[in-house]
Each structure stands twice: as C-alpha cells, then as structure tokens.
Amino acid sequence: MTDKDRLVPDEGLAPASTALPGAAGPLEELTQPPRSQWLDVWDQFKTHRGALIGGILFVAIVASVYLGPFVWDIDPTKINIRARNEGPSLAHPFGTDQLGRDMLARMMAGGQTSVSVGITAMLLALILGSFIGVVAGFFRRLDGPLMRLTDLFLALPLLPLLLVMMLLFREPLNAAFGLEQGIFILIVASIGITSWMPTARIVRGDVLALKEREFVLAARSIGTTNTRIITRHILPNVLSPIMVSATLGIATAIITESALSFLGLGFPPDFPTWGRLLFDATDYLQQYPERVFWPGMAISLTVLSVNYLGDGLRDALDPRIRGR
C-alpha cells in the first residue's frame, strides 16, 4: 500500500477536522464526488456475496413464476388423463400429476400464489407491526394498551380466527374480488394479522432506545413535529430490524400457508400453491419422489434466498456499515 503519500501531514495543520478519524482508507473517499444514496446501497449490496446470490435467486424465482407462464404456456388446470403420473420428459419437464396436469405449469401457478401470499402477508404484518411498535414505543401512554393488545394477539389461535374470517368476510370479498382473490385476501389477512407481534415488539424496543438518543431531542429542538420525528428520524433507524422481520416474514408466511393447506384451511385443493403441491405429493413420496422435490425445493430456495437477501439488505441499508 502506498500509505506514505496519504499520510503526509497537510499544511493546514488542522488535521482531524478535514480528515476522517480513520487513518488511511477513507482519505481517498474525500476526493470522490458524493454519490446518490441508492448507488451506495447497491455498492454495499454488491460486495455481500450471499446477498447477491440470494437476490439474484429470488429475482429469478419471482421472474420465472410470473413470467414463466408466458414462455411455458400450458394451462396448469389442463387435464390430460392419458398422461397421468408421468415422470420428467421433454413435454413435461417436471412430470405430471395424478390428473395429468403439467407440474411445471402448476409449479409456476403455485409459485405465483405462494410468493404473492408471502410478500403481501409479510407486508401486512410488517406495516401493522412497525406501526404498532413505533406508536407504542414513541407514545408512552399508548405503550401499555398496545402491548396488552400484542399479548392478546399472541394468545389468539390462528385456526378459529381463520374460520371466523371465512364466515364474516368471504361472501363480501368474493363479491368484490372474485372467488380466488377473495380467498387470497382472506389468507393473507389472517396470516398478516396473526404474525405482526414479534415485529411490533422488536420495533418497540428499538424505538424506546432511539427515543432517548440525542438526535431525537435535537430534532425536537429544531421544531420537528412528532409525525416528522417518526417518519424522518425513527423509522429509518429501525429499518434494519424491520428488514430482518420482513425477510423472515416472507418465509414464515409461505410456510404458514402450506401448514394451513395441511390442516384443510388454506386455499382450496384445486388451487395450486407450493405448500399444497408439497402436501399433495407427500402421499406419493415413495412412488414419485420428484413430485415432492420440486415444491420442496422451491420453498426452501425461496426462504434461503430471501434470508440471504435480507442479510445483505440490512448491511447495505446501514450507512455506518456501508462506509467500512
């Protein structure tokens, strides 16, 4: 390294004020033009190998699931009874199921549901959780009631809740959005509202700590209103626990959906999701192991990729780490 040149004492003799508290590395950065925030995030993200692989994989999965049907345009509900239980072949790369439906097409259709359920349920849980966490942490008076509410939701059983929601909202939802959309909304909503609690707790804890930090006081002293303190100062700083919850949330939502299918409460059986496909295939585990393999693989890969993606995003979103 040519640290020598950089370590030359500068004539101004006001050393630390112009240089960074770090000795060597960052000096160079001084001369670089400042860059946009997202470019920085991207830069950091790129250096995180796991995150990059995870991100590419996740994008690939999402793309193949949503764009795949344009290339592989077999109807996933198309029954071809003569081609029942076939193994992988050129015509059906993933084989066919017991009604001769193309597994690849079904995997893509199932993926659409699973991924959408995962993402939307996660978003719902995240928004709810962050909102409640932030409000509880920020407004001392609401803390007690909101945390008891969290207890309440923790204690609520998912299954009866789902049944109630089915009864109360299915008809109106079906009327408004159609059958599949209706059930989709129901499932997403029920997974969402039964899984926001951990996020809320974590966020609340972080907000409680952040609230005591001086920059929040500083913000108040320059006349920042509560709402702006929350949106500008608190939220960006609790982003990393939220990101972690988010990535875990996608995974849990996908898995919860499959568990609901197992218990007969999820999407109807004619509605493919990865969880459903996996569940249906477990009966055929011995005869047609490949049928278990595809959905199982898809779920695991998604969960894995999302998790690594989350790890990387968390690092990338934190400017402190980004600088190093």
Binding site: L7, P9, G12, A14, P15, F215, I222, G223, T224, P236
Partner: protein
C-alpha cells in the same frame, strides 16, 4: 541494569483487513519504556495510540488487526527478553494481566456488566498467582483499598453499574494492578471522566507508580494530563511517531509542527487572566485569523428566574411518585445579547437539565424564562415551536445528536423545512451558505454523519442550530468529546459567529480552561443550584465558594512544572439529589461579594 528498557517497540506496523482492503493502523513506530518511568503517548484521535498499545498486548489480533512488521521486545520478569510480536497466544495469555496490565478508555464499558466487581478482580489473581478464592478476595480487598475506593468490602459484592464512573475506573485500575505488572498501559483512562475525578485518578496512578515502581505507558490526547503525568512524551501523528522527548522539552521546545499546533490548541487555565473579554485562540498555521475579543452588549436577552426541574421517581405498587430527583433547584441568571454565560460543574449537577429546561425540552416544574420579552413558560405547544426559532441547542455528543441515516444536507435543511422558511433552490442556497459559515466544504453536503470526523459533525450541529438564525444557542458540552485541535477550531468558530451575528450562548461545560476561554460570565453549579456566579475574571481569579475552589484546584494545567499532588484534592462524593416528595428545599439566597459576583448562602450540600 536500570537503564535497560522494559519494553522496546521497534518499527511497529499494524494492518487491518477491512472489507475494502487493508488499512494501516500504525505505520512505523519505535520507542522504549524504561522501568519506573511514565511515557505519555499523545496524538489526535485515530493516530494509532490505542493500536500501538494493543499490539503490545497482542490484542489487536482480536480486532481484526495484524502486526505486519516490527518487534515488540519485552523484558520478562524472569529476566528474559522476549519478542512479543511472534509469541504464541498461549504464552501471551500468561504475560497479559500478569506482567503487562492494561487500563482501558471507557470505564463504563470495560467491566463485564453481569459479574460482581469482586469476581472480576479476583479472576486474574486466581489464574496468574494460583491463589485460592479466599486469598484472592483478600488481595482484591487490599487492591481496592489501595485505589482508595470507599467501603471496599461492599464494593466487592456490587455490580459495575452500581458504581459511579470514577469508582469503576478505579476498579479497572485495581484490576490492571492486581498482579503487580512490570508495565502498565493506560489507554486514555480519564478522558471520559469529570475533572475532579480525573484529578483523583491521575494522582492515584502517580502514587501507585511511585510505590510499586511499575513502568507506565500512558496514552492520552489531553496535553494538560501529559504535563501532569509524563516523564517522557511520544507524539504520534497518523500512524507515525513524529516526536519524542522528555516532557519539559516537548512543552518548552516542540520541534515538529504537529506538536506545536497541538500545544497551541490547548487552552490553558489562567491564559485569559487580565483579558476582559473572550477571544479566539491563536492556531498555528492558520492565516488571517481574526483574534479580536468579543465584547457583546449589556442588553439582557434571556432572564431565568427560580427555574426548578425535578424528575419524578416512580415506585411502589401503584407506580406513584415516591421521590423526586432535584435536578435543577431554584436557578436564576441572565444572559446578555452577544455574550456567553457558562455553566460549570461536575457530572450530574444539573447543567444539561438547566439548558434543556430553558428550551422546554424537559418541562420545568417552576420558574420564569423570559427570552427577549417572550414568556417561554406560558407558551402552548405551537407557540413553543415558534419560540424555538429564537433559541437552539447544540448537544454534547456529536455522534449521537445527528441522525445516522440522514444526509448532512437534509439535517441542516430540516429546521428550515419545519418552519417553512425556505424551499427549493433557496433552501439549497441557504444550506450551502451554512456549510460555508461553519467552514465545511460544500462537497460534504451529501455525506452521512459517519463519514465525518467528530469535529466536522459538531460543526454540522452548529450549522443546524444556526439555520434558524436564533438569538440564543444553548451549547451543552459542545466540545467535550473533541480532540484538542478540533476543539480549538470549534471554539473559535463559535466565537467568530458570536462576534458576527451577535449570538448569545449558554455554554455548558465541565472543562474550566475552555470555560475561561469563551465566557463573559460563569455560573458554578453544584447539586442543582448555582453556588457561585459572576463575571468570568472574578470567578477564576477570586473563587469564593469552597466548591469552586476545589474545582479550580482539580483542573490539570498544561505545564509540567505545575503538577498537582494528591494532597491538594479533597473531594466529597456528591450527595444524592433524590429527595422524598414532601421535601421542601430552601430558596437560593445569594450574597454579592463583589459587583456582579454572587455566592450562594443557602446550604448547597457541599
């Protein structure tokens, strides 16, 4: 062989592997430490002081560093000279804590929060000296007595958080001294402490060194401390040693430019004697400095009367208030336009609370605050928001008071956005101007706080406070966390702005030398009250209250000839400010000993 060094550092080079390639922490450093001698290593933050000392302990490796080059020769107790740089970690274990002791910078975090003091003290003894539990405990007790901790028996069973900062630092020292090491490395052991405690700790170390004959490697960036402690001084700058010599020589005849600038930046107590008004410091190598004194006006801007702030202590079954922390108790003062009033005092005496109460960032219990004719206490929340246009605050910790996730530009623009003062390109211009004002390059506007040094950050905080053109700035220990050279620049900047814009400051600090430099008036706080208040010169030249006198005595002076000894110090621990709810404190009554110089008559608790 007394002239043989106990430790010789030869051509040390330490590198760190980071994500963006290797970073050099120490480039090329060589120096010796002789038995019974105190070597002070000085230099700005990040110059490699800690890394050098950690290398000697071979602890850099645990932080991701690597000793890339050089020798660390250490004279073992058994007389063998060993090169620590390539010693096995297993053997190193036996030297660490046993033959080399180390005291760390942060007393608050250097102790393990979940183990008792006794346990942490005895641990080393039992490993290195093969003591049994009882023997180790007896020795621990003895150590605690040595470092003069009150009630040592009780301390053994306490947890670190139950001790005050000063006591914790003494525990750390006791721990380092436990096995009577031949070399003691003290890495900024007093930086985080109050003057009074600092004075005690320094005296304590000095005594211990004399009593045990241990060699001390003392790391600091505070020249006053150097003057107090050192036999020899090593000056480091950006990973290199730039100068070395006996302490007198360094202070009287610095040769390297950096050393000179360092010394110039140190405010020295008594420097301002006979000067009526504060004036900026002369910094080396800065051309065209405006060193005109800042007289200010005699027009009253802020009048505070009977300010009282208490924090309730909740307890009992129903979470009712069972007691109050009397943080600020019946405090009155005035600040003139364009002038600075400083509040000094030990940690916890209520300085910050007083400052915050004026802005009503904490709600005072009683009192009047009158800012330029506006009764702050009577304002509702929107009125208060408007009032804050005229009064701003700079916080103690430049690291904590900036939002780490927001661009600097944004942070400076935020107050103007909040009040809708400017927008669009006008806002941009204003922000750019503010950056110019605080001497920051405009290219920094798009940076994040972590990309700045402490001094730069503090300037951002100042820019932010200036954004609204306030009349009053409450500066709460705005320079305490900074390096001397940076501190000098920030102080100069503040004074320059005062002269130009006619700002008034409420300057909160515990550094007497700094206070002497910047203030027109000084108030000394103790346990929530102002015990003495008056023009700066009178307070410094003629301190009347016993507490003020003790405080003055504790301030180290950046002059190796004016060392203080332990005998000069007689501090009592501060009594608790917590009183039961029915406690009715007496009102503060003052005696005017000289014109404008007041002394508290009420019992302050000192």
């Amino acid at each position: 062989m007394l002239d043989h060094p106990i430790a010789e550092i030869r051509k040390l080079r330490v590198e760190f592997q980071t994500k963006d390639g290797p970073v050099v922490g120490v480039e090329d450093v060589s120096f010796d430490v002789y038995p019974g001698e105190t070597v002070c290593i000085v230099g700005e933050s990040g110059s490699g002081k800690s890394v050098s000392s950690l290398s000697l302990m071979r602890l850099v490796e645990f932080g991701g560093g690597k000793i890339a080059n050089g020798e660390l020769l250490f004279d073992r107790r058994d007389g063998h000279e060993t090169n620590l740089a390539d010693l096995d970690q297993d053997l190193m274990k036996r030297i660490r804590g046993n033959e080399i002791g180390m005291i760390f910078q942060e007393p608050m975090t250097a102790l393990n929060p979940v183990f008792t003091v006794g346990r942490q003290l005895t641990e080393g003894l039992r490993v290195h000296m093969n003591m049994n539990r009882a023997a180790a405990e007896a020795r621990a007790l003895e150590l605690l007595r040595q470092v003069r901790i009150p009630e040592p028996e009780r301390r053994l069973k306490q947890y670190p958080h139950e001790l005050s900062g000063g006591m914790r630092q003494r525990v750390v020292i006791a721990m380092a001294m436990a096995c009577e090491p031949r070399l003691l490395i003290a890495d900024e052991p007093t930086t985080a402490l109050d003057v009074t405690i600092q004075a005690e700790i320094l005296a304590l170390m000095d005594r211990l060194k004399r009593e045990t004959g241990t060699a001390v490697m003392f790391i600091t960036h505070d020249m006053a401390v150097v003057a107090q402690m050192a036999d020899r001084v090593v000056v480091m700058y950006r990973g290199n040693k730039v100068e070395e010599g006996p302490v007198e020589q360094i202070f009287e005849n610095p040769t390297h430019d950096y050393t000179k600038s360092l010394l110039a930046a140190v405010p020295k107590l008594g420097e301002m004697r006979d000067k009526p008004c504060p004036e900026p410091m002369r910094l080396l190598g800065v051309e065209g400095q405006n060193l005109k004194p800042v007289p200010g006006t005699q027009e009253v801007l802020l009048r505070v009367k009977g300010l009282t702030t208490r924090f309730p202590v909740k307890g009992g079954f129903l979470r009712r208030t069972v007691a109050n922390v009397h943080a600020v108790e019946d405090v009155s003062f005035t600040i003139n336009r364009g002038q600075t009033l400083s509040l000094v005092g030990e940690s916890g005496c209520g300085k910050s609370t007083a400052g915050r109460s004026i802005l009503r960032l904490v709600e005072p219990l009683a009192g009047e605050v009158d800012l330029d004719g506006l009764d702050i206490m009577k304002l509702d929340s929107s009125g208060l928001r408007r009032a804050r246009l005229d009064m701003q605050m700079i916080f103690q910790d430049p690291f904590a008071s900036l939002n780490p996730k927001m661009k600097l530009e944004e942070q400076v623009a935020e107050p103007m956005r909040n009040y809708g003062i400017a927008s669009g390109s006008e806002l941009q211009d204003r922000v750019a101007n503010l950056f110019d004002r605080v001497h920051l390059p405009r290219s920094f506007m798009r940076r994040y706080p972590h990309e700045m040094s402490g001094g730069q950050r503090q300037r951002i905080a100042i820019a932010r406070a200036l954004a609204l053109n306030p009349k009053l700035i409450v500066s709460d220990e705005a320079v305490s966390a900074l390096d001397v050279s940076v501190q000098a620049q920030v102080l100069n900047l503040m004074m320059e702005l005062q002269a130009e814009l006619g700002l008034s400051y409420l300057f909160i600090s515990h550094d007497m030398a700094v206070v002497e430099r910047v203030s027109h008036y000084v108030g000394v706080m103790y346990l929530g009250r102002i015990v003495e208040m008056g023009p700066r010169a009178r307070i410094f030249e003629n301190p009347q209250h016993p507490y003020t006198q003790a405080l003055m005595a504790a301030v180290p002076i950046a002059d190796p000839h004016k060392r203080k000894s332990e005998k000069d110090l007689n501090f009592k621990p501060i009594p608790s400010p917590i009183h039961p709810t029915d406690h009715e404190p007496e009102p503060s009554r003052y005696d005017e000993v000289e014109p404008g110089h007041f002394i508290l008559l009420t019992d302050s608790g000192y």
